[in-house]
Structures are given as C-alpha cells and as structure tokens.
C-alpha cells in the first residue's frame, strides 16, 4: 500500500480557507462601504432642525423631517399593535396546540409562504382592499400593510422560541394542576421571554425599512401626521421622493433620512442581539 501524498490536501485546505476569508471580507467590505457612504453623506445633513423641523420647499435652506419621523413611528407602531399579537397567538397555536394536526401544518405552510411574498405585493393587496374602497391613501392602510409583513415573521419566531422550551418544564406546571393556558402564559412565555422579544425587535427592524408597501398605502405627505386617516409622512417614501428630485437640499435630506433609518435598525439589532445573548447565558 502506497501512501497518499500530503500536499494536495494541504493545498485544498489552504485554497478553501483563502476563498472563504475572501468571501467574508467582500461581504463585510460592502457593508462597511454602505455604512461609510450613508454616514458621510447623512451625518452632514443631520442637525437639530432636521429632527425637529418641518419640510421646506425645494431651494429653501434648513427644514427637517419631523413629520416623517413621527409618521414612520406611528405606522410602525400600528403595524406592531395589529401584527404582533396575532402573529404571537398563531405561533403559540403552532408550538403548543398544533402538534400533529393538519390545520397546524397548513398554517405553518401559509406562514412560510407569507414570509416569502414580496412586500410590494402586500402593498398592492392592501391598496385593493383598503385604499380603493376608502377612496384615499392613509396611514391606517400603511399600518395594515406593514402588519401583514410582520405577522408571519413573529408567528415563526414565536413558534421557534417556544419549541426551544423543554417539555419537562411544561409537564411540571401541568403536574401542579395548572391548566394549559396558564402554563403557556406564565411558564413557557416566561422561559422564552427574551427570545420572543428578540424576534419582535428583529421583525420591527425589518419593516421599518420597507418602502414599497407604503408607496401604495400611506403614500407620503409634507404635513404633520395629525391623524392616520390621510396620506401620512414617513421616512422611506420621503427618501424615495427626495432622492429622485433634482433639488440639492432635498437630496441632502434623503441622505439624512437614510442615516436615521440605518441608525434605528442598527440600534434595534444590537439591542436584540444583546437580549439573545442574555438568554443563552
């Protein structure tokens, strides 16, 4: 028996290592580039007026996007108020009550399909069922569209997080005489608490950058979002409009808004990662 030479394995090892390091570096470099551009262009647009002021016409100096910041906050909040409870309850059904049931398999399948539906289609859908019958764009419609995006994500993370809770913990609660609902609410939720919160925060981070669904629903507005019944100002559609405009001060504002969203998503991600780490500890 002749010994295989060692050098081809060493070579293959080195090649694979080099390729994976290169790929990782490329991805990171792109991210760093995006962050650098957004930071450089956005940070210069950012000042106190930008956060507290109202939009100004093209050409005029100063002005801010306070209306869009508040509008994005309100529409995202509405999306959470609608989407998180329904998504969580669906996840509870899948994890706690659906084992081995056909309905659960169907719901799980639909949740996965819904996660994959492009957000622009969700926007068109809500346009057809809310905006057209109402006859006008509205913040309500925007919230509904975003809630449809957040719902399946929350349902799936809830199911995943509850599935991580070991069965003996459920059994211990039931064996003390606790009914099923109390076991789920007081013990299983408690055990999965930080994981559930992480899931919701990541889902919020995901929808806070969505533009397409808002384009068909909340649209945009230069005014303060006094109510959600009309077109509602928001950061993402503002970026879309301003960036396409020929006016330098609007283009600068678009960079500022991009910077704000990036900062917000980054903050949400960091917080949720910290929570996830606390859970594993």
């Amino acid at each position: 028996m002749r010994r295989r030479p060692v050098w081809p394995r060493r070579l293959a090892d080195a090649a694979v290592k080099a390729a994976s390091v290169l790929a990782a570096a490329l991805g990171l470099a792109m991210l760093a580039w995006i962050l650098a551009v957004v930071l450089q262009r956005g940070a210069s647009a950012l000042n106190w007026r930008f956060i507290t002021g109202m939009p100004v016409p093209p050409g005029a100096e100063g002005g801010g996007l306070a209306n869009a910041i508040v509008g994005t906050f309100l529409v995202t909040l509405l999306a959470c108020v609608i989407g998180v409870p329904i998504g969580m309850m669906a996840g509870v059904y899948l994890a706690e009550f659906g084992a081995g049931r056909t309905l659960a398999a169907l719901v799980r399948f639909l949740v996965n399909v819904m996660i994959g539906v492009p957000s622009i289609i969700i926007g068109l859908f809500v346009y057809t069922i809310v905006v057209l019958p109402a006859g006008h764009f509205s913040g309500w419609a925007g919230g509904v569209a975003l809630s449809l995006l957040i719902l399946p994500v929350v349902a799936r993370t809830t199911e995943d997080m509850l599935a991580l809770v070991p069965n003996p913990l459920r059994e211990s609660s039931l064996a003390l005489g606790a009914p099923r609902w109390r076991t789920t609410l007081h013990i299983v939720f408690r055990a999965a608490r930080s994981g559930l919160l992480t899931g919701v925060l990541l889902a919020v981070a995901r929808i806070s950058g969505e533009t397409a669904p808002l384009l068909f629903t909340a649209l945009n507005s230069p005014y303060w979002p006094r109510s959600l019944s009309g077109p509602t100002a928001n950061l993402t559609v503002t970026i879309f409009n301003y960036a396409m405009s020929p006016y330098p001060n609007w283009q600068r504002a678009a960079w500022g808004a991009s910077f704000l969203i990036t900062l917000g998503v980054l903050a949400l991600t960091v917080v949720s990662r910290a929570l996830a780490r606390e859970r594993t500890r």
């Binding site: 211990s172 039931l174 064996a175 005489g177 606790a178 007081h186 055990a191």
Partner: protein
C-alpha cells in the same frame, strides 16, 4: 442468562388483582389500585395489563431495565401523558376510590392531589418564592402572610429552607442541581398532595445531593404515599417499603422490598436484582 429476550417476555406471568403472586404483606389499604392498565405510544404498546396495589403511607419503588415502561406507568397516575396526542391508556387506575382514567375527572384537582418530580430538576424561570407561590395561588386563596408561611413550611419540609432563606427572591434556576430538585419537591408538597410520584429524581444529581434527597424521602414517607421510579437498585433497597419489578412493559413481581431483593419468586427478578442483566 440463557433465555433470549423474546422467551423471557413470554415467560412473564400476568399479574392481576385476583392472582397477585405476592400480595402486599401490609394491612394498609391500597392508595392506588391499578387494574389491567395498557399503554400505547401511537400504535406501539408500551404497557401490558399492569395491575398493582400500592399501599397508603409507604414508599413503593419501581425498578427494571431501561425502556421497560417504569416512567410510562407512573405518568398514567396523574394523566400527564395526555399532553401528547399520540399517547393513550386503557384500563383502570383507582386512587381513593375514583378511577382517574374515567371521563370527567377534574385534572386540576387530580394533579393537586398527586405531585410529580421529574428526572431533571425543572425550576420555573421565576424566583424561589414565586416557584412555590405559583401552585399555592392557583389552588388556594390566602393572605400574603399566610402565603409566605406556607412557602416557608414547604421549604422546611423539603429540607431547603436554611439554604434559601436569604435567596427567596433570586431565580430558582441559580440554585445547585440538588437544591433545584429539592425546590421541585417543595413546590410539589406546597399544594398539599397525598401522593408523590418521583420519576428517577436523583439520576441527574451528584451522590451527596442524592443522599440528601433519599433522606428527605424517608422523612416524607410519613405524610405521603410515594412512588419512585429508579434504575438504581441500591436506591430502591434503601428508600422503599415495596418494590415492583418491570420488564418489557409487564409487572413481573411486586412485594415487600426485602422479600423481592432477598427472596425473589420469579426467575427474571432474581436475574435482574443479582445483576445478571439490565
């Protein structure tokens, strides 16, 4: 051991209330009376015609090789198996004159009366205090001070009070493994059960902590009927008054622990307790 496992299964005699080979030599009335219990995981039968009379106020050990149905058997008593849709039991389990497998049984009250301790300690992700308050608040209405008193009483009964009296508001999960298991025992006895089911309660715990829990079982036997599943024969011999030997889902022999270990009536029992298999 010459017989193949298949022969062995066939040789196991059926044990029923009528022809129990070794009726409990105790005058104590049966607290739990199992008659013709069968158990199924889906289409697979795990228990075959189990019948046993467990005397009140005693410790009964259930021994047998892995996978013989020991845990499955006691998981019928409080119907905890019903958490899983594919599991089902047929037959009768009479506890204090009521068949717990009959329809219409109040599971909440049944499980208050029959506490259960699991293989791995399962403290709730709550403080020590809340771990005990959970069951107490669920079953009883009481004032704050009465609640605190009952919690202290249960922790004392579980020989844990001195170790946790300063940590009542720390997480129960921060205790050591042995302490966690005693916390689970305290939690179970806080709601004043009559029966305690222990499913290999020391198999995940170090020897010193195991000794403490065995001591605790000896103290608790005066107030509760205890059924303990163990794969440790020395433990069965140390803590129990009666022992049932399970094999392949059947009860091969049941009797006073000393008799079963020193003078087994069945060949399979003798082979197992003398360490020839299992």
């Amino acid at each position: 051991m010459n017989a193949s496992p298949k022969d062995l299964t066939r040789a196991v005699p059926r044990v029923s209330a009528l022809d129990a080979p070794s009726a409990p030599p105790s005058p104590a009335p049966a607290k739990i009376s199992v008659r013709g219990l069968n158990f199924f995981y889906g289409a697979t039968q795990a228990l075959f015609d189990n019948s046993i009379e467990i005397p009140a106020g005693s410790v009964t050990a259930i021994i047998g090789p892995s996978g013989c149905g020991k845990s499955t058997h006691i998981r019928v008593y409080n119907r905890i198996f019903q958490l899983y849709r594919e599991q089902r039991a047929t037959g009768e389990v009479w506890i204090d004159g009521a068949n717990v497998l009959a329809p219409g049984v109040d599971l909440i009250e049944l499980r208050r009366r029959i506490g259960m301790i699991f293989q791995k300690p399962t403290p709730f992700p709550l403080s020590v205090h809340e771990n005990l308050a959970y069951g107490l608040r669920m079953h009883y209405k009481m004032s704050r001070s009465e609640l605190d008193g009952r919690i202290e009483g249960a922790l004392r009964a579980a020989a844990l009070w001195d170790e946790v009296r300063d940590k009542l508001h720390r997480p129960g999960t921060a205790l050591s493994g042995g302490q966690q298991q005693r916390l689970c025992i305290a939690r179970a006895i806080a709601v004043e059960p009559e029966v305690l089911l222990m499913d290999e309660p020391t198999s995940a715990i170090d020897p010193v902590a195991t000794a403490r829990i065995e001591e605790l079982i000896a103290q608790l036997r005066e107030r509760y009927t205890i059924v303990i599943v163990t794969h440790n024969m020395q433990q069965a011999a140390r803590v129990s008054d009666f022992t049932a030997f399970f094999l392949s889902g059947r009860i091969v022999e049941f009797g006073a622990t000393t008799d079963l270990f020193t003078n087994p009536k069945q060949k399979e029992t003798e082979n197992y307790v003398t360490g020839r298999f299992g």
